[in-house]
């Protein structure tokens, strides 16, 4: 084994030891790894007893197929579609890649792809790559709250437009786009252009009625919808042709080869069932906790601002705040020591020199982006969690600020 690897492992272990277990922990970094309903985790574990592969003609195989169909029915119901198919992948990233690259691969003729400036990297990067294959990419600008510029969009859609992809809810700043308006603008200029939405951060947070909205394809991520990890999904309207981008054993999933992860899909089915029966309850609870968090911070700290829209135009779970003179990565570490787990749009967390492209696209200067932290609440959080975060964050911010050069302030 590589000595380096063993050293790295030792280093992480001692880091975790040195960090210690904070007395209390509040996990708000749901952007980077979701929280699942307990019942969904139990369903996953339970489904490990099924074993079967849904393509095989025996009892465990049929039980596995039952699980998959349950998930398919549950998802179609929750997103308001009545035809088409659901392809299960392992996460939202795979679903987005399949939507963008698989659809481009199957298409003949049209070469223009439009995506908003603030798409998740699993949309942005595949779309950029397609330029190598002769596709033309246009990024649709957004306003300072992240809403796409419909006039600009209208000016860009034409007979050469293959597809338009705009996330239903932006993952960083919670902007809830008006999909129906977007679809109308697109159809008006080009009835054949296909409309895709990355709904990874919308499922379970806002009501979705995709058929009515005129959406043709939509991506989902299990762990973003309170299901276990290991599952994502792509909805494809009847009649839309997509080519596979991976190849192998034909499974019941025409477009994503390999044996289905039935236990993860069972967990997803359970999460969807919970969302169907208690969607409003979850949503209102999240909104209450979100507002408690946002208002608590706005009211108690100087030099703080909210990134993204307010109120009902913002996803009920999303709190993205910037703290002036407070570098975000240092703040994530300081908060971690206090048991509050968040992420930051700072350059220091991005492995490149650049901070969040979403914050830059809505016109935030670099220093505001560097000082941003992203927090998301869930139906699993309680008021006490938020209160604890509200105690810790101001202290953490002032500690980090106390390290900053005084000349700045």
């Amino acid at each position: 084994m590589g000595k380096d690897l063993l050293e790295q492992l030792e280093k992480v272990k001692s880091l975790v030891r040195a960090h210690g277990g904070p007395r209390r922990e509040v996990y708000l970094d749901l952007e980077n790894s979701g929280l699942a309903f307990e019942e969904a985790l139990a369903a996953l574990q339970e489904a490990y007893r099924i074993y079967g592969n849904p393509s095989i003609t025996h009892r465990p195989g049929w039980r596995a197929l039952e699980v998959i169909l349950e998930a398919e029915v549950g998802l179609m119901d929750l997103i308001g579609v009545s035809d088409g198919e659901i392809i299960f992948t392992h996460n939202g990233t795979e679903a987005n890649n399949l939507a963008i690259m698989g659809f481009a691969k199957a298409s003949r003729g049209r070469r223009k792809i439009l995506v908003s400036q603030i798409e998740h990297l699993s949309i942005k990067f595949p779309a950029e790559r397609l330029q190598e294959n002769g596709f033309k990419l246009v990024e649709i600008p957004v306003d300072e709250e992240g809403f796409v510029d419909l006039d600009y969009l209208a000016g860009q859609v034409d007979g050469n437009t293959l597809m338009v992809s705009v996330a239903a809810v932006n993952h960083e700043i919670g902007t809830i786009q008006d999909l129906k308006a977007i679809a109308e603008v697109v159809r008006d200029k080009s009835p054949e252009a296909v409309i895709h939405t990355d709904a990874c951060d919308a499922l379970g947070r806002i009501p979705l009625d995709l058929e009515k909205a005129g959406v043709d394809m939509a991506s989902f991520s299990g762990h973003k919808a309170f299901a276990p990890k290991g599952v994502g999904a792509l909805y494809i309207r009847e009649g839309i042709k997509i080519d596979p981008i991976l190849h192998g054993q034909l499974s019941s999933q025409r477009l994503w080869p390999g044996a289905e992860d039935v236990p993860a899909i069972a967990g997803f089915a359970k999460a969807l069932e919970i969302l169907r029966r208690s969607f409003d309850e979850c949503r209102y609870k999240m909104r209450r906790l979100r507002d408690l968090l946002i208002n608590g911070l706005l009211g108690n700290i100087d030099g703080v601002m909210l990134n993204g829209p307010k109120g009902d135009r913002r996803a009920p779970d999303n709190a993205n705040m910037s703290f002036l003179y407070c570098e975000g990565e240092a703040l994530t570490v300081e908060l971690s020591l206090r048991g509050v787990y968040v992420s930051s749009g700072s350059a220091c967390t991005s492995r490149t020199l650049e901070p969040s492209h979403v914050l830059l696209a809505i016109g935030r200067p670099y220093e505001i982006a560097h000082g941003s932290i992203l927090m998301k609440v869930s139906p699993m959080h309680e008021e006490e969690d938020i209160k604890y975060a509200l105690e810790q964050i101001p202290e953490a911010v002032s500690r980090i600020r106390s390290i900053s050069p005084k000349v700045m302030m």
Partner: protein, 164 residues
Amino acid sequence: MSSRIPLPYSPKVLELFRNPKNLGRMEDANAVATAGSLACGDMITIYLKIDEERIVDASFESYGCAANIATASLLTEMIKGKSLREAWGISWKQLSDELGGLPPIKYHCGVLAVGALRRAIRAYYRDRVKPDWLPEELTPDERHALEEEELMKILSRRIGGERV
């Protein structure tokens, strides 16, 4: 060697982040310099009190990630009591090693700290007779720091963000 980009800090970085030494503005410093900028997301100011070409006290302020803060803390601790010439000789590689190895994407933290220190030393000699050991040309570590700053200026201009 695994080519995975390893993000974890060493326990030492975490410890120095938690309890940085020599933190804060020094009112009676006779050499001060900053490297990086707010827009970069990384900025270190180094304060030196120099007596007869020896650093009798050093402190820092830092706007940056945990590694940035730990590096500045370590550097100021290392240079206290050293002659300017000795302090000049400290490289970012040394800092990274002392810190138990910075993750590759955090190397610029070390670079910035060394850059700030050397700028402060140059500043000290601005109105004084320059010693032989002080090169006329910028050293690679200094250029590195400059490049980081330049890169950010370009990036900021490109997207029209304001710079502080």
